[in-house]
Symmetry: C2
Subunit: 652 residues, 2 copies
């Protein structure tokens, strides 16, 4: 398969030209890309070329809450740091034996490659570099070999000739006789022992269940078929036939990007779920959590509860707020940090690694958005999990969040309009931003943001509904009134063409798709029925957003020339995760099928971005600048695509 | 100091051009190289520029054998994974306050940089990336700060402004008032927990004494002045006034290269000393051990005993031998592997990571040389340590080594001539090589090697002396006779010009300096007195070697045009470690002062190689090709320079 390059031989570091022995080299070619077929889903990745195939199975498990009693056995099986490969060569139509092999060359730093002699007596052929990474195969016909150059190993028939420990490349090989078909089971294992974080002292949770790489391999072979079945079952739950091929590609890539960003750690007796922010590696970033919450609600909602609790105990703060240009500080309220740290380093309590004062752009505070985000995730979690105990324990916190939102709208009640107007004092003369930190003010500015206005409407609507169910009509009324203010303000800013400005203030010519995002929170946060009523209390909002979309979803505003979605008319920086989310809102909530939704043109354009040779190396990434991936590589946020399954299920 | 470059700002990964805030940048220049003064010794490295200096103290301890009772307390202090920096700014002549700072930026992979808030309450300002590496300062006036760009931190007066966890650069800063002189104590600590080897399961021994990086810093500050005194004391023992400035430079660099290649590990209850082979990282390579043995004999001889024992129990083998071109195999005998593994990966017992069959050049077997090497180290250890118990336990092994040497000379006793003629069957049709694996046959070929012939003479002479002392005159006689055979053969090959061919066979025009190497083993292995006798039993050998040197130490043969030593007349690849060793032999044993020894020209030429801008990056390395360092970077073998202290002491 064309997944390797022949490196410069390490031999050169040892030998002067002309002094080494010349060993026979087998020709080493790979099949052409055009002869290669790929079958790709969230948990199975198969590459086939004629009679040969290589399949990697990486089951995504619905992890149970490790705090529950009696889950240790199932966790031990699920928490295996490995993926499962099957190398297949069908030689039934061949008159000659052929060799099948797999191998690798670790980087020049770190521990050296090693054939694992100890496992031979167990019938396992294994290669690893140190205690951290390696591959193993349990086929009895396999053997391992090691040299500087794989072509030397392939030229040699004698299995025992090259156990050359200095070699930088290792191969696991097997001869497949004429007329036979062989499948090799390969466990690719990973292991990191000891404390892996600073600021908190946590180890990988799997270290509780497996002692080291050899144990991981052994457990992998014992349960190999179970893991393959689990991968197929997870795929079956994710690959809905109602999704188009492009949609399935988006979903598969984004699930993998999310999975690759996660860690289940263990801190003393407590499990600790970490979602790293892709290439930026910030920990459990709150403005991402509100988006990948839709995935976690479906697959393992306890991780949301854990993040909410940790934000509340460690990464919350109470601030004061200021109106622009005013020196007077008003009470603000409870809000939350942007993140919990970065790159396995936890921040000091009360502070993110991201936010600093004195700025107006990237790295400024997101105080107004983060209280909305925490509140939204809390409401989503309560609604979907039915965890009434957690809801009741945190009811006072919800009220503090609500009051904090009101103060950020305006410190003076009579001047509130459901739109953020105040900045946290933490900005120290700067200005608050939103999650759209690398965009222009259309989406990047918190104050007067239409995007935050709809998010605020959603949170207040869901909170009101929760209070109504809880039998507190007075409080619910206040929340409904605040939600109404947001709608009223939004409607007041509808322009003659039906569009709504990105910022609800004079002089804003930008238009954004993201104004509709908040509807997804409302839909899953408890008011889905209200949104479905034909002339319900939200009808005017929904109608105005439909009108907005009709006005802005055109070339020159919120569509790129290739039909891809442009989140802001005034920026070429568009984020796929948010596009996926808005696509769901448009189709499932607004019943709006423009912008290339109905005919699949939008999905095709976005898939073409991901597959473009400029971008494909990073598999999935979020921030595309006119179709070029330039930031947020390996990002977890794309699992907003899971919302598309809600549409499929709603249709059923 | 000019030890940094401004990296591209990590900011670019987050922000589109024009979207970020522009922060004030302080100008950041470093002093010029010409204003910089360096004072450099084995354990102290000071850089001064006017009123500023930065000194790194790295004491080299005479580690006691960890197996001895009662050494835990002293080991706990010595085994601190840290070096000790002093940052000094003398502001006594200044009318303004100035800021002194130190900091770093970790690489983009691995754990993120972090300010260690937990240690603030202990008065320690610290930066680390994860649990593995970091610097700390205990001056009460210090503070830490973090950002993408150090110039942002230096422009800011407010200590609390930039605790920006996302930042890739951290600084520890201190304001030095006008008229004050401040010295900051900086502990640069390192830590790696858990099993670090494969094939054997070993941890770093220091993990037994210190729980993590914070503990390392704390212990470093508690004993800071003790470590500085220890560094000065170690220097005093190594920096003899009888050495020239160039010799002191060579010694300091080579001690540091050795120290940097070592690890003290812990395997269960047993300590495990590892000397890695510089950039190649092979473990306890036996043909290096015989050279850096001279260092270990003086500083911590128990590490030699440990390596000898481990070779004997795990990395020995018994082979058969063949004469060139013959199919018949004769008994060979006990010999030893080239090494114990590579890059923290131990080889399977009985095999090195280096040797493979079927070769004639690099990576072939060194069976004949390695039995000589093990035997030589054993004799050196017994002679210098006086460890009679170990000697007695291993006497049978010594005889097996001796018999193995005889068989490799020639399997038929009547045809023995003190020169290696047989190859191990392990070469499988190839040919044995020597430690000079990257040179041509003049030094690279084992069969008929004059270099091995003198080594064999030395080992047999020392063994005979040991047997004489042990009261076994018959066995001693046999060893003396074998030594005489070597001398006889060598003398028989002396040419008309007094030179001796590199290979004691027809048609060899190469001439080598290394033929004298074995004398150092004899000198330290028990027969120094015999070598000093004017007309002693070795006088003819010494005289012929002096004549050889007179003949070959000239331009065109064994001198480079710049006066540097060329180990072989037929190769431009010359090794400093071996040059140092031969220099000792020439001066101290042969009383020979040619080749630029007497006037220091040779040392100056070799120092010029090390300081050349093409080579200086690697501090010390062994293999120079016409003065260009091309292999064996960061090599431990250069501590053969310790032999120069023997000359100084002999002179006293």
């Amino acid at each position: 398969l064309p997944f390797f390059e022949l490196a410069n031989s390490e031999m050169d570091r040892f030998v002067t030209e002309g002094q080494g022995d010349d060993l026979p080299l087998a020709p080493l070619r790979h099949c052409s890309w055009s002869d290669l077929r790929r079958d790709f889903s969230p948990c199975v990745d198969r590459w086939s070329c004629g009679s040969f195939s290589w399949t990697i199975h990486s089951p995504y498990y619905r992890l149970p809450d490790p705090a529950l009693p009696g889950v240790d056995g199932v966790l031990s099986k699920m928490l295996l740091p490995a993926v499962f490969g099957v190398l297949r060569l069908d030689n039934r139509d061949e008159a000659r034996a052929r060799r099948v092999f797999i191998g690798y060359q670790p980087g020049p730093q770190g521990d050296h490659l090693r054939e694992n002699w100890e496992l031979r007596q167990e019938g396992i052929s294994a290669l690893s570099n140190g205690a951290g990474y390696g591959m193993a195969c349990d086929h009895p016909g396999c053997w391992t070999a090691q040299h500087f150059d794989p072509r030397v190993l392939l030229a040699e028939q004698d299995r025992e000739r090259f156990h050359f420990g200095n070699g930088s490349v290792g191969l696991i090989s097997c001869m497949v006789p004429a007329g036979a078909c062989v499948e090799l089971r390969v466990v690719l294992g990973f292991y990191r022992a000891g404390v892996v974080t600073s600021g908190r002292s946590a180890v990988y949770a799997y270290t509780r269940h497996h002692a080291g790489l050899a144990d991981v391999w052994r457990a992998g072979f014992v349960h190999f078929e179970d893991h393959l079945r689990a991968a197929a079952a997870a795929d079956a739950a994710l690959v809905s036939p109602s999704l188009s091929a492009d949609q399935r590609f988006h979903l598969a890539q984004s699930v993998r990007a999310y999975a690759g960003s996660t860690q289940l750690l263990q801190e003393g007796e407590r499990a600790l779920w970490v979602v790293n922010e892709g290439e930026y590696r910030m920990i459990n970033t709150l403005d991402l959590l509100v988006d990948h919450a839709f995935w976690e609600l479906r697959i393992h909602p306890w991780t949301l509860r854990q993040a909410l609790d940790l934000y509340l105990t460690e990464y919350a703060y109470v601030d004061r707020v200021r109106l622009p240009g005013e020196a007077l500080a008003y009470p603000g309220g409870l809000t939350f940090c942007h993140d919990m740290g970065v790159g396995n380093a936890f921040s000091r309590p009360g502070h993110s690694c991201y936010e600093i004062g004195g700025l107006k752009g990237c790295f400024s505070y997101m105080s107004a958005e983060q209280v909305l985000n925490w509140f939204a995730v809390a409401l989503l979690y309560v609604e979907k999990s039915g965890d009434a105990g957690w809801r009741d324990r945190n009811m006072a916190v919800f009220f503090r969040c609500f009051e904090s939102c009101l103060q950020r709208d305006h410190p003076l009640p009579e001047l509130r309009d459901g739109v953020v107007d105040a900045d946290s004092e933490r900005v120290e003369g700067g200005a608050e931003i939103t999650t759209y930190d690398s965009l222009d003010a259309s989406l990047g500015q918190a104050r007067r943001s239409a995007y935050l206005c709809v998010k605020s409407w959603a949170v207040c609507s869901c909170f009101a509904r929760m209070l109504e169910k809880a039998g507190d009509p007075d409080a619910a009324f206040r929340a409904r009134e605040q939600a109404k203010l947001s709608v009223r303000s939004l409607l007041a800013w509808v322009q003659f063409d039906g569009s709504i400005p990105a910022l609800l203030q004079d002089g804003c010519s930008s238009r954004i798709i993201s104004v509709v995002e908040g509807l997804a929170i409302a839909w899953h946060g408890g008011v889905q029925d209200e949104l479905q009523e034909k002339d319900g209390i939200h009808a005017s909002l929904l109608a105005s957003l439909r009108g907005h979309l009709d006005a802005v979803m055109c070339h020159g505003l919120c569509l790129f020339p290739d039909g891809a979605w442009k989140l802001s008319s005034s920026s070429v920086n568009s984020w796929l995760s948010k596009v996926y989310l808005c696509q769901f809102v448009c189709r499932a909530i607004l019943g709006w099928q423009g912008g290339g939704l109905g005919d699949g043109q939008a999905d095709a354009a976005h898939a073409a971005w991901l597959k473009d040779s400029k971008n494909a190396f990073w598999a999935w990434g979020d921030q595309f600048y006119s179709g070029v991936l330039r930031g947020s590589k390996y990002y977890p946020r794309g699992v907003t695509s899971i919302l598309w399954l809600d549409e499929a299920e709603k249709a059923v």
